[in-house]
């Protein structure tokens, strides 16, 4: 491959990357006794932030309130810190760190930014409702052959394909 300075390396073979991910999931099961997860960490960050602004309100709320006062003392919060570090390390060593708003080549930053936030709100709400995200339910629950997790994964793809045409503009090249 060309050695132009800072040129990003090719991505790995997806199947081999999948094996690494599967091995990570497997070791998570036998060491932690629990699989991978990400959305609850971000929900706890949000509970923590809301707690800074309105501590009474969070403590009294039925859902966040059940997490107690020390919301960040939770293993998935630490896992997400590791994911960030792993993403940074891997992207640095592969020359793929870029401060950019990823989008279609013909798409403006504004449209993409609005859709990113909007999609995030959907995912944040849906992950709480479904008790997990593609990591916690899709990977972890499916590897445990949990019926609800497998259904969740199938319906996530159904929802994605159903809405794909509506938001295709942001990926136009």
């Amino acid at each position: 491959m060309a050695t132009r300075k800072n040129q990003p390396q090719s991505y790995a073979n997806p199947y081999l990357a999948g094996l690494l991910l599967g091995a990570t999931l497997f070791f998570s099961f036998i060491i932690l006794g629990a699989g991978l997860g990400a959305s609850s960490a971000w929900a706890r960050f949000s509970a923590w932030l809301e707690g800074l602004a309105a501590p009474q309100r969070v403590a009294a709320s039925e859902y966040f309130g059940a997490w107690g006062a020390d919301v960040l003392s939770y293993y998935l919060v630490f896992m997400v810190l590791g994911v960030f570090a792993g993403g940074l390390f891997s992207a640095l060593t592969a020359g793929r760190v870029r401060l950019i708003v990823e989008r279609g080549l013909k798409t403006g930053i504004a449209l993409r930014s609005v859709l990113a936030v909007f999609g995030g709100v959907f995912v944040g709400y849906a992950a709480r409702l479904a008790r997990g995200c593609p990591s916690g339910q899709g990977l972890t629950g499916s590897a445990l052959l949990s019926a609800g997790s497998l259904l969740f994964l199938i319906f996530a793809f159904v929802g994605g394909y159903a809405a794909a045409l509506l938001v295709r503009r942001q990926w136009h090249d």
Partner: protein, 429 residues
């Protein structure tokens, strides 16, 4: 036998946190290496331009499932030492649909966005801000969404059980489905003549607004494929497919461990009923109390036992366990202060959600003597108060006697005798 941190109740300890960071690190590396720290590459699956998401996820799920199945089958890992997610059909189907819509709109999911944030993607940061907002919105609307959140709660349900096959057979089927989808994915990608989407070069185009040479020169996608995209060779995919199915099929040739204890544990994974699975879980859980156990303790007037009904007062008035006090969750801290670490506090609600949440909150405040009633009031009615005549399974003489005693004590002699067929206990007051 492998001891997990979950089984040792040490997930949220220093060791749990340290291992979580380490495991998360590899999680992040795997996602970034696969190209899933890129929203363009993730979203491309919804336009059949790049099937990486499917390839990576299915490979990971299948390999982890095969590995676990071997450990269960060999008796090296007790399924009860693993945290199994609960199945709530309504919430997970609707949640899945909404999440899919959000994923194609935002271009990320929480895990990949975290790795994307590590790669400098600003849209990942915006997406995660949205996720935080969505979580707060969920908390604020929890009362409204709760019926859906709990709709069709089914406990721990294994898919092999639904299909009526053994765990290993299901894993073999899963690997065959995965392999078929891999080959379809490769064919789809080839048919779509992949262009910019799959090569990592586009990140510089987005950053600089200056097209990479091969793009500026109008070189078609095929050239880019050679520089940027790993095209899976037929030989590799054939070997990979064979290895995956072979590893799964090997499960069928491993003799399950014959020790009676392990055999029972293996049955769970092989398709034991969800109720049974839950029971075994609860047996391990030190914070649960079985309905029969609670009934016995109340009837023996055990000293130091405090039974707390945390449901709304009108539900309490309709029916409650004899001797229970009614304390709504907001008043729990004040009410229970004198009972902290004294005797035994048992919380119950209709199911286990509310009591479980309340008990967790209390435990974080240092209450080590809080227990929740397994399956809540509904479970108590079902297991202690349901008349023998209405039970679909055989009941021994001894059990029948205990049920009669329970009905007499908790429902009053009149209810038990005058209306023996009544299953609607709350209506009989």
């Amino acid at each position: 036998m492998i001891n997990t941190l979950y089984a040792a109740d040490a997930l949220n300890s220093t060791a749990g946190f340290a291992f979580s960071v380490l495991i998360g690190f590899f999680f992040g590396v795997a996602l970034e290496r696969a190209g899933l720290a890129s929203s363009r590459k993730i979203a491309a699956i919804f336009y059949f331009r790049d099937m990486t998401v499917l390839k990576v996820m299915l490979t990971a799920i299948t390999t982890a499932a095969i590995g676990l199945a071997y450990l269960f089958r060999l008796g090296w890992l007790d399924p009860a030492s693993i945290y199994f997610p609960e199945t709530v059909y309504g919430a997970q189907i609707v949640g899945g649909l909404l999440l899919g819509i959000g994923m194609v709109t935002g271009g990320w999911c929480p895990g990949t966005a975290t790795a994307g944030l590590g790669s400098g993607r600003i849209d990942a940061l915006l997406f995660l801000a949205g996720v935080a907002g969505g979580s707060v919105l969920f908390n604020e609307t929890f009362e409204w969404v709760k019926p859906l959140y709990e709709y069709r709660t089914a406990g721990i349900v294994s898919a092999p059980e639904i299909f009526g096959v053994s765990g290993p057979a299901f894993v073999v089927g899963l690997s065959v489905v995965a392999v078929i989808l891999f080959w379809i994915s490769e064919a789809v990608e080839q048919a779509r003549q992949l262009r910019v989407h799959q090569a990592p070069d586009y990140i510089d185009y987005i950053a600089t607004k200056k097209a990479p040479e091969h793009l500026a020169a109008g070189v078609p996608g095929r050239t880019l494929l050679q520089t940027g995209y790993y095209r899976t060779s037929i030989i590799f995919l054939t070997l990979f497919s064979a290895a995956l199915i072979g590893a799964a099929a090997g499960l069928l040739f491993v003799e399950p461990v014959e020790l009676p204890e392990l055999k029972a544990q293996w049955r769970m994974f092989a398709g034991q009923s969800a109720e049974q699975r839950l029971m075994e879980h609860i047996e391990k859980g030190r914070d649960h109390i079985a309905p029969e156990d609670l009934a016995r303790r109340i009837m023996n007037e055990e000293p130091g036992l405090l039974v707390v009904d945390i449901r709304p007062p009108d539900e309490y008035r309709q029916f409650h366990i004899r001797g229970a006090v009614n304390v709504p969750p907001p008043d729990l801290f004040d009410y229970l202060e004198p009972y902290k670490d004294r005797g035994m506090i048992v919380l119950y609600s209709n199911g286990m959600n509310h009591s479980g949440q309340a008990a967790a909150a209390l435990r974080r405040q240092g209450y080590d003597n809080v227990y929740i009633l397994t399956d809540g009031l509904e479970g108590f009615k079902e297991r202690c108060l349901k008349p023998v005549s209405l039970r679909s399974y055989p009941v021994s003489q001894e059990q029948a006697q205990r049920i009669r005693e329970c009905r007499e004590y908790f429902l009053g002699g009149a209810a038990a005798i005058s209306n023996p067929a009544s299953s609607d206990i709350s209506a009989s007051n």
